[in-house]
C-alpha cells in the first residue's frame, strides 16, 4: 500500500455507546493504518475500563490515551474518564482537566476541534448515539477544516439527540446505519491513498 498522509478517525458516543462501538471497532483489522480516537461520555467516578473491554474484542490495538504519547496508526485510543483528550499538531496527545463541556469531561467537541486543527482534510469524524448535543460543534469544525463527517442514523440510535444535533449543525454530514459506517471506515485508507 502507498504511504498514507497523516490521517485519522475520531468517534464520539454517549448513551448506547458500548453497543454501537461493539459494531464499529471489532470490524477494523489489526493492519488498519489509521489511528482512531474515541470519546465516550463516562461518569467521572467510574474507573474507565473501556480500553480493556474493547481490547479483548478487537483485532486492532486498543488502549487508554496517555498524556504526550506519540500517535501511531493501527491503534484505538480511548479518552480516560474525567479528562479531555486533545490531539496536538505535532501528532502527540494531551490530556486536560479543564472544565467539562456540555457537562461532559471528556467532551467530544474538545477532541474533534483539536483533531480538526491537527489533521484538516484527512480527518473523519463520526458522531454516534447519545443524549446530549456534544459533538455537533466539533463535527462542524472538522467539516470546516475540509474533513468528512459521518453520523449514525438517528432512527438506528439508542440516543437520538446527539446524531440529530450533529446532522442539524452539519448538513454536509450524512446519516448511516452502523454497519455502513463500519464499512466506510474500513475502506477509508484505500480512499485516502488513491
Amino acid at each position: 500500500m502507498k504511504a498514507l498522509p497523516d490521517a485519522a478517525v475520531v468517534i464520539g458516543a454517549s448513551v448506547g455507546a458500548i453497543e454501537a462501538l461493539m459494531i464499529l471497532l471489532p470490524a477494523l483489522p489489526a493492519s488498519y493504518p489509521l489511528p482512531v480516537f474515541v470519546v465516550v461520555h463516562i461518569p467521572p467516578d467510574k474507573k474507565s475500563t473501556l480500553a480493556e473491554l474493547f481490547a479483548q474484542r478487537c483485532s486492532i490495538a486498543v488502549k487508554e490515551a496517555e498524556d504526550k504519547e506519540s500517535i501511531r496508526g493501527g491503534v484505538v485510543y480511548f479518552a480516560p474518564a474525567d479528562y479531555h483528550l486533545l490531539v496536538e499538531s505535532d501528532f502527540t496527545l494531551s490530556l486536560s482537566n479543564e472544565e467539562p463541556v456540555l457537562f461532559s469531561r471528556p467532551a467530544i467537541d474538545v477532541l474533534f476541534q483539536s483533531a480538526a486543527d491537527a489533521y484538516g482534510n484527512t480527518l473523519t469524524g463520526v458522531v454516534l448515539t447519545g443524549g446530549s448535543t456534544d459533538g455537533a460543534a466539533g463535527l462542524r469544525s472538522i467539516i470546516d477544516a475540509g474533513g468528512k463527517g459521518l453520523v449514525q442514523s438517528p432512527d438506528s440510535a439508542e440516543g437520538t439527540t446527539m446524531p440529530r444535533a450533529a446532522l442539524a449543525h452539519c448538513p454536509e454530514a450524512r446519516p448511516f446505519p452502523l454497519q455502513e459506517i463500519a464499512a466506510l471506515l474500513k475502506s477509508l485508507p484505500a480512499t485516502l491513498s488513491s
Partner: protein
C-alpha cells in the same frame, strides 16, 4: 493536510504567547498548545476580539490585560483529596517513611486555590507529623494563591470534598476542619500555620528548598515534553535521596530525561521515589 485557518491560528497563538512573554514574566510558549488555544479562543470572545491577533495587539498595547488573561492561561480545576486513593496511599505507605525524619519539607507545586495543600495539611495533622513539617505551596496564579491562603470554598463543593476525605482514609469528619457561614466553608486557619505560600514558576524559577515530598498534580499535562522535563528536573534537584514525588493520576514521567532518577513506588497512584 492542515487547513489554512488552523495554520494561521497556530501562528497567531505563538505570536500572542510571545507578546505575553515580552510584556510580563509569564512564559506559556512551551505549554501544550491544543488546550491553550481552546482557552485563549474563549478569552478572545470574552474580550470581544475578532481574532487571536487582535488579542495580541491588545496585550502589547495594554499589558494590564495580562492578569485578566491568567484565568484562561491556567486551569484552576481542583478538589480537596482529589483522587482519594492517592492520599490514602500517602497515608498508608509514604508517611511511615517520612516519619523517620526529624523534620520534613513538603512542596505542593501548582497548588491552585489550596485544595491540595489543605488535604496534605489535614493528612499530616492526623498522622502526627504536622508540627515537624514545613509546607511550601506554590503557583504562578497570584489570585489563586490568595484564595489558597484564605482557605474559603463554596459550601456546595463540600459534599464532594467530604466524600473524598472519607475515601482517603480520613480519621474524623471533614466538618471538624472548617466552619460554615454564608454559603461558604472556611478552613481552620491553624492548618496553614506551617505553610509558606509563594509565587513560583516551574517554567522560569529554580529550586528553592530541599524537600522530602513533592506533590505536583495535574500541572504537567499542561506542559509540552520539554517543559515537563524541566519541571521534573526541578523536582529531582529539590528532593532528598529517597524523597517522594507524586504526580497526577494520568500523568507520567515517560518523556522526561530524568525518569531514570526515580523508581516507581506506587505505579497506579503515580508515586515515585528518588534513587
Amino acid at each position: 493536510m492542515k487547513s489554512t485557518a488552523a495554520e494561521i491560528e497556530a501562528v497567531e497563538l505563538q505570536l500572542l504567547l510571545t507578546a505575553i512573554h515580552e510584556k510580563s514574566r509569564y512564559d506559556f510558549r512551551d505549554y501544550s498548545p491544543a488546550s491553550l488555544k481552546r482557552r485563549l479562543l474563549q478569552a478572545k470572545d470574552h474580550f470581544r476580539c475578532a481574532s487571536l491577533s487582535e488579542l495580541q495587539h491588545r496585550v502589547l498595547h495594554d499589558p494590564g490585560l495580562i492578569p485578566r488573561l491568567l484565568p484562561y492561561l491556567t486551569v484552576q480545576v481542583s478538589e480537596l483529596f482529589r483522587d482519594p486513593s492517592y492520599f490514602l496511599t500517602l497515608r498508608r505507605d509514604v508517611l511511615p517513611h517520612l516519619r523517620t525524619y526529624p523534620s520534613l519539607k513538603v512542596w505542593v507545586a501548582g497548588c491552585s486555590s489550596g485544595e491540595e495543600l489543605y488535604s496534605m495539611a489535614i493528612l499530616f495533622r492526623e498522622e502526627g507529623l504536622e508540627s515537624r513539617t514545613i509546607f511550601y505551596a506554590t503557583d504562578i496564579n497570584t489570585e489563586a494563591l490568595q484564595k489558597a491562603e484564605a482557605g474559603i470554598y463554596e459550601i456546595d463543593r463540600l459534599a464532594l470534598f467530604s466524600e473524598n476525605y472519607r475515601r482517603a482514609g480520613g480519621k474524623a469528619s471533614l466538618s471538624d476542619y472548617y466552619t460554615a457561614a454564608y454559603g461558604r466553608a472556611k478552613f481552620d486557619q491553624t492548618l496553614k500555620k506551617q505553610t509558606v505560600f509563594s509565587d513560583h514558576s516551574l517554567v522560569s524559577d529554580s529550586v528553592f528548598a530541599e524537600a522530602h515530598l513533592v506533590s505536583c498534580r495535574n500541572v504537567l499535562i499542561y506542559f509540552n515534553r520539554s517543559l515537563q522535563d524541566r519541571a521534573v528536573g526541578l523536582f529531582k534537584d529539590s528532593l532528598v535521596r529517597r524523597g517522594f514525588l507524586g504526580i497526577g493520576a494520568k500523568e507520567n514521567l515517560r518523556f522526561s530525561g530524568h525518569a531514570d532518577a526515580f523508581m516507581e513506588f506506587n505505579r497506579l497512584e503515580r508515586i515515585y521515589q528518588k534513587l
